[in-house]
């Protein structure tokens, strides 16, 4: 696999940042976009634009076909049973809100329990918190150990007769922990509890097979998967999409509208009210093709090798502390430097063209659990290479120098 060839497909890397070549280590936040995705966005608006699913003229038919082709590609990409199990949303946050709201409306009563974990991003906590506020639900947090792994025995203990749904991330955006979803789903399903998986971090980096995982819901954020912003995916088992009430009401999601009665469209349209991010959906097909052209196994191998290399190098730098040491770790490395606040680290490495994130990464619960206000985070994409890690390490040395650390 030729990483420099892959990198050359991303126009942003021909630019300089602060006069230095861009070392982009913020892919957990959002990935950069390959030229094929950008060209498709441009071409769709220039030559093919029409709204989808409504008009019957040629442009509309072509646009609708392309829109639906992406749905079919996603179905294959995550191995869903049917393309009708793929719902387009604004982002993964909306995907989770959709489930929390509609599932909550139908299934959550006062005192019912929702089980999440200490690893969750705010987007897989706040939507459930709304049910705590509006319905009197109870939210329980499955604890993690010092390595950043969910303690499965404790997780099991927290399941009660009142547990109505379990929501858990597939991959932590702080510790890089790859969560054993299959095991969690098996435990949950034995007690007939549905499981929502936050797949934001996993989708660009590890193989996703929703049939094998057997999860009930799976949320994906397309801008992290080498795709456009403004687009998310909700996979849900057909039984849920048919059973749950609609979420946002409006055009496109109805079947028949009368003054005294409205019936809803079948899935997936039932959940896609209003004009969708059409060009983004069409362009996202290219993101999937991009990943498939490399092969998910190759992506996993490359990022694993890169992570091992980075960990080895970072551990050699005095005063660098790596956060978590999970059993299975993806290309997300959060760290602190004793004596240098993460925001100062970020500002200093930025001068060297290195883009990392500093802060709580939308995981305040996890940071509280770890006893940290903030961390610095380097996260990888398929375009990163050893040179990027070397420059990161050199720029960390510069932090130490600026702060006169020994």
């Amino acid at each position: 696999m030729d990483i420099s060839e892959i990198k050359s497909q991303f126009p942003i890397f021909s630019n300089k940042v602060n006069g230095k070549p861009l070392v982009y280590l913020d892919s957990s936040n959002s990935s950069q976009k390959p030229i094929s995705v950008l060209k498709t966005l441009d071409n769709f608006y220039k030559n093919e634009f029409s709204n989808v699913g409504r008009s019957i003229h040629s442009l509309a038919v072509n646009a609708t076909n392309k829109f639906e082709e992406t749905r079919t590609s996603i179905k294959t990409f995550i191995n869903a049973d049917s393309k009708n199990e793929i719902i387009f949303t604004k982002n993964a946050t909306e995907s989770i809100n959709l489930v929390a709201t509609t599932f909550g409306q139908q299934n959550i009563q006062k005192g019912d329990e929702i089980l999440i974990t200490e690893l969750e991003h705010h987007s897989n906590y706040v939507p459930w918190h709304y049910l705590r506020e509006t319905k009197g639900a109870i939210i329980k947090f499955a604890p993690i150990n010092e390595d950043g792994d969910i303690i499965i025995d404790k997780f099991k203990e927290l399941i009660t007769k009142k547990t109505k749904i379990i929501a858990v991330t597939h991959l932590s955006n702080v510790t890089g922990t790859i969560v054993p979803i299959k095991e969690i789903v098996e435990i949950a399903h034995k007690k007939n509890i549905p499981v929502l998986v936050d797949g934001c971090q996993s989708a660009p980096h590890i193989k996703i097979d929703v049939k094998d995982l057997d999860c009930d819901f799976y949320a994906i954020s397309c801008h992290k998967v080498y795709g456009p912003t403004g687009l998310g995916i909700l996979y849900a088992k057909k039984k849920w999409l048919e059973k749950l009430p609609p979420y946002i009401g409006g055009g496109g999601m109805i079947s028949e509208v009368k003054k005294d009665k409205i019936t809803y469209a079948p899935v997936p349209e039932k959940y896609e009210a209003g004009t969708m991010p059409t060009a983004e959906v069409v362009a996202f097909n290219e993101s999937i093709k991009f990943m498939q052209s490399i092969g998910i196994k190759n992506i996993m191998n490359h990022e694993k090798e890169l992570t091992d290399y980075a960990l080895e190098k970072l551990k050699k730098i005095n005063s660098v502390n790596i956060i978590g040491n999970p059993k299975n770790k993806a290309g997300v490395i959060s760290f602190t430097i004793k004596g240098v606040h993460p925001h100062d680290i970020s500002t200093i490495v930025d001068e060297e063209g290195v883009a990392i994130r500093a802060g709580h990464h939308c995981c305040q619960i996890l940071h509280q659990r770890l006893g940290l206000a903030a961390t610095a985070r380097a996260s990888f994409g398929i375009y990163n290479n050893h040179e990027d890690i070397d420059i990161l390490c050199k720029s960390i040395e510069k932090c130490r120098k600026v702060f006169n650390l020994k």
């Binding site: 240098v340 500002t347 006169n404």
Partner: protein, 156 residues
């Protein structure tokens, strides 16, 4: 941009060993400040006497070198001043960070001006301005005694 202008020795030194750190005895005003972007939190403790003079001024919290140094320097400069002079200093500082090329204040001597000017490098780093201003906004809140938490995202 020049990192040396941002991370001057005086900032690194105050960042590492902040002055007036802790809870002062007999404080009668306090306020919390929060920067939700980075999670930084500070608490300002203010002891004001009957003549509306800042008898003591301390803080607790954690944050980056810029926010710690800014808070530390602020406590040094405002301690012992009357409310009206304290307000002038706060306004002069905020003006310097946002607009003015240097500090305009008749209430500070040259040494104090040099100290406060060490924070002016932050102007070149727009994402870091809030690190420097958090404490000053929080002090204003403590002086006004509104008891509301200062949130940097709610301030222009």
């Amino acid at each position: 941009m020049d990192l040396k202008e941002l991370y001057q020795d005086i900032i690194l030194e105050h960042g590492k060993s902040p002055r007036n750190f802790g809870k002062c005895e007999g404080y009668n005003h306090q306020a919390k400040g929060h920067n939700p972007l980075c999670g930084d939190q500070i608490q300002i403790y203010l002891k004001v006497n009957n003549e509306k003079k800042v008898e003591d001024l301390t803080f607790e919290g954690s944050g980056c070198a810029i926010s710690m140094a800014s808070t530390s320097i602020m406590t040094e400069l405002v301690k012992g001043k009357s409310f009206s002079i304290a307000k002038n200093i706060i306004n002069a500082f905020l003006d310097m960070i946002k607009n003015a090329p240097d500090i305009k204040s008749s209430d500070l001597n040259e040494d104090q001006k040099t100290k406060i000017m060490s924070l002016s490098g932050v102007k070149q780093y727009p994402m870091r301005v809030k690190c420097a201003t958090l404490a000053w906004h929080t002090l204003t809140s403590a002086m006004e005694g509104k008891g509301e938490e200062v949130n940097t995202e709610a301030i222009d």
